[in-house]
């Protein structure tokens, strides 16, 4: 592992211009994720949570403020292979098989794929896709494709992992299974993780801290510590304390 780096956003602002109108996606947002921590960004659609992630990945540039990943600029951090990412859609290349899709970040970073063959096999095992190495995405189910995307995000052994609603397109049952698997995977790698989601239970189950965001302008409204010890078992989903916490967060989200 490249060594977990922290994520630091200091007073970041970002506005978009659409059809002549300026939309303030983020105003003066500060967020610090300690190395090895798991943070969830929770909020309604359009509150700028995906924008934070895109800024951190260097896909967008902030109008004001600073973004640092492991003490470097986003561009340097991503180009050095420090980061891994999984988007809401698996965004697999339809013409590459499972192995080749997982290897895509290595190809982009111009790393020698052969040195990672053991790692790739291990990841395929980890996400439960053994036997599907040579399958094309079109031959996989939605959940399987998403697991390929998770494996791909881990192939560079990232110190910082970004997850943008990685299970947003899955149904509730599959989503819960994937939450449990993701927790197991993350516990093994112990990288710094930033998860963007609008599922409250997902955020609470996975994260050490939940940052609740509000829109217009996008900002972090409150930061909530999640007290449950790890490893967290699936039983947690039916724990009354868990539900109370979720209800509290829902209140912060919807007004309060």
């Amino acid at each position: 592992m490249a060594g977990a780096g922290g994520i630091r956003l200091s007073n970041v602002s970002k506005a978009f211009v659409a059809r002549g109108k300026t939309i303030e996606a983020l105003r003066d947002v500060s967020l610090t994720c300690e190395p090895g921590s798991f943070t969830a960004l929770l909020g309604p659609s359009g509150c700028g949570k995906s924008t934070i992630l895109r800024l951190a990945l260097g896909l967008e540039h902030a109008d004001g403020g600073r973004v640092e990943i492991g003490g470097q600029t986003s561009e340097k951090a991503t180009a050095s292979g420090l980061t891994g990412v999984a988007f809401q859609d698996s965004a697999l290349l339809p013409w590459r098989n499972v192995e080749d899709n997982i290897s895509l970040p290595l190809d982009i970073l111009k790393r020698d794929r052969r040195e990672y063959s053991a790692k790739i096999a291990e990841l395929i095992q980890l996400v439960g896709l053994k036997g599907f190495e040579k399958s094309l995405p079109g031959e996989l189910s939605g959940g399987m494709r998403q697991r390929v995307a998770i494996a791909r995000s881990l192939v560079t052994e990232p110190g910082v992992l970004f997850l943008d609603e990685p299970f947003g397109a899955l149904d509730q049952i599959l989503r819960r299974q994937m939450n449990i698997e993701l927790q197991r995977i993350w516990t093994e790698t112990r990288c710094t993780a930033l998860l963007v989601t609008h599922g409250i239970d997902e955020a609470v189950f996975l994260a050490d801290r939940v940052a609740v965001m509000r829109s217009r302008p996008g900002r972090v409204a409150s930061m909530i510590e999640i007290p449950f010890s790890r490893p967290r078992s699936p039983d947690l989903f039916s724990d009354p304390v868990f539900h109370k916490l979720c209800d509290g967060i829902a209140e912060v989200l919807h007004g309060g």
Partner: protein
């Protein structure tokens, strides 16, 4: 039958999907045979199928050399044109400034009536190079556009992924764009293949020589021998059709390997951007200058004698500053006055028919379905090979020109419209019906507005074709207009006029195209839609 009207979707189970088209084709062939046998059409201008086959068999020794000659030049032009086109497409996607600078060039290549520059190429080049050049030009625009569309309409999330790992423009191109564009580029090649054949045959018309289907056709035109003309025309169609079919197969294979997975259908956001530091006026000027500079460079590089090869300035001089300029202007304007009205009327008629038919395709789906194969087939027929057949059928008056214009505009417009309207979301079409609207209300509210962008796309596509069709008809048959003036000037070795007519017809074609683009932008902007350019 009554059951079929109540439940339109399901077909009888025992009927294979190919049954209806095959049945229609068989009926058509039988009708053809009967009409030919009994001299029912234009006093025997439409020969029977068997007569055509007999003639073909009698002439069989003539064909190999002609076919081979046409094949060689089309294949060479196809290869060169497409390599240039793909490279240009990649360049335009990587550099928006280049795309804007070359817009004038691209539109010119698209709109140029090939028949107008065939004589010019024959004057300035030797051997088979005019044929190769025209074949290449026939491919360039189609493949270049397909490349640009393929490279831009990518899955944006895949591009994000590459950039999220620090990948640059080239990495996105390498890992995502090139491969995902491949099916669209192949579809472009499929359309380009018949164009290459058409280009080569056109050059044979204008250039002389001994071998080639165009030469053969031209040589047979004067003899009153309809079966031979038809058999040459059908052979040319078959070559184009086979080329179309082969690339269709390749394209289906490649597409099969890469589809069946979610891909975004959304267009990339089109912002006001690109080439910011260059003022748009300068770019617009450059875009007009590029074709002229290339024209000038073409003459200079080939070292054509000034007497034969005219530069842009040479044409202006011929038209305005020579003793005979006044006379040249009159002749040119007269010819334009004959060509332009019929082009416009024919285009409107063809577009209107295609629009009416495709818009009402929800009312008469069976008719549309039956027409589609015919329309697609007509696209593989080299125009040049079919026009003599029209002349046989309709004589040499203005009617033949009009019918040719309508037919060259109708089918491509119909295909563009029908394929475009398939993309209208079913839910949008169903919504009026869900509120009890009748077919006409549904058309007015959804069908027609949804078809408008495709109507404009069809108009852009067909306006230059219409001019080409009119000019070919004028050249071969009616003895009027720009096509005829071009042919006459060739006979008189009036080089200045040849260049002038060529330049004028290109300018005319580009102007008509630009008018469509302007109207399109205005209308679609008012309706809150975006064109497909």
């Amino acid at each position: 039958m009554a059951a079929e009207q109540v439940l339109p979707a399901p077909k009888p189970l025992n009927q294979a999907p190919w049954f209806a088209p095959v049945r229609n084709i068989v009926i058509l062939l039988v009708l053809w045979e009967v009409a030919g046998r009994f001299h029912l059409v234009a006093d025997g201008a439409l020969p029977s199928l068997t007569a055509i086959v007999e003639r073909f068999w009698a002439d069989r020794a003539d064909y190999p050399a002609h076919v081979w000659s046409t094949l060689v030049s089309s294949a060479l032009g196809f290869a060169i044109g497409n390599i240039v086109a793909v490279a240009a497409g990649i360049l335009f996607v990587l550099s928006p400034l280049a795309a804007r600078l070359f817009r004038g060039f691209n539109v010119t290549i698209f709109a140029v009536p090939t028949i107008a520059i065939a004589p010019i190429l024959a004057l300035t080049m030797t051997g088979i190079s005019p044929r190769v050049t025209l074949a290449a030009m026939g491919c360039y625009f189609v493949t270049m556009t397909a490349t640009v569309v393929g490279l831009t309409q990518i899955d944006l999330r895949s591009a994000d992924l590459v950039r999220a790992y620090g990948g640059g423009k080239w990495d996105v191109m390498r890992f995502v764009q090139l491969r995902s564009a491949l099916p669209i580029i192949l579809a472009g090649l499929q359309v380009a293949a018949p164009n290459a054949v058409l280009g080569a045959i056109l050059a044979e018309f204008g250039g002389g020589g001994r071998w080639g289907l165009g030469i053969y056709l031209l040589g047979s035109l004067g003899r009153a021998d309809p079966p031979r003309l038809w058999s040459i025309g059908l052979v040319a169609t078959a070559i184009a059709g086979i080329a179309y079919f082969i690339f269709g197969l390749i394209s289906a294979r490649v597409t099969g390997a890469s589809k069946a997975v979610t891909m975004t259908t959304s267009l990339p956001p089109a912002g006001a951007r690109t080439g910011g530091q260059w003022p748009s006026l300068a770019v617009a000027f450059g875009s007009i200058a590029v074709p002229l500079v290339l024209w000038w460079a073409f003459i200079k590089l080939l070292g054509v004698p000034e007497m034969i090869g005219k530069t842009p300035w040479g044409v202006i001089e011929y038209l305005f500053f020579l003793p005979l300029s006044q006379q040249a202007q009159t002749r040119l304007l007269d010819a334009m006055g004959q060509t332009l009205p019929i082009t416009i009327v024919g285009t409107f008629a063809g577009l209107a028919a295609a629009f009416a038919l495709s818009v009402s395709s929800r009312l008469v789906p069976n008719f549309t379905r039956a027409l589609m194969p015919v329309a697609l087939f007509s696209q593989t027929m080299p125009l040049i090979a079919t026009i003599p057949l029209f002349v046989l059928l309709l004589g040499r008056g203005w009617l033949v020109t009009l019918i040719i214009t309508i037919s060259v505009t109708f089918f491509p417009a119909f295909i563009t419209l029908a394929q475009g309207m398939k993309m209208t979301p079913r839910a949008a079409l169903d919504l009026p019906k869900a509120y009890g609207a009748g077919a006409w209300t549904e058309l007015k509210l959804v069908g027609i507005p949804a078809a408008l962008p495709y109507l404009f796309a069809a108009a852009r596509l067909t306006v230059p074709r219409a001019l080409l069709g009119v000019m070919i008809a004028e050249w071969l048959a009616t003895g009027k207009g720009l096509g005829n003036l071009l042919n006459q000037s060739r006979g008189y070795l009036d080089y200045g006029m040849i260049w002038t007519v060529a330049a004028a017809s290109v300018v005319l074609s580009v102007a008509l195209y630009q008018i469509v683009v302007l109207v399109e932008r205005r209308v679609l902007a008012n309706m809150g839609m975006r064109g497909s350019e």
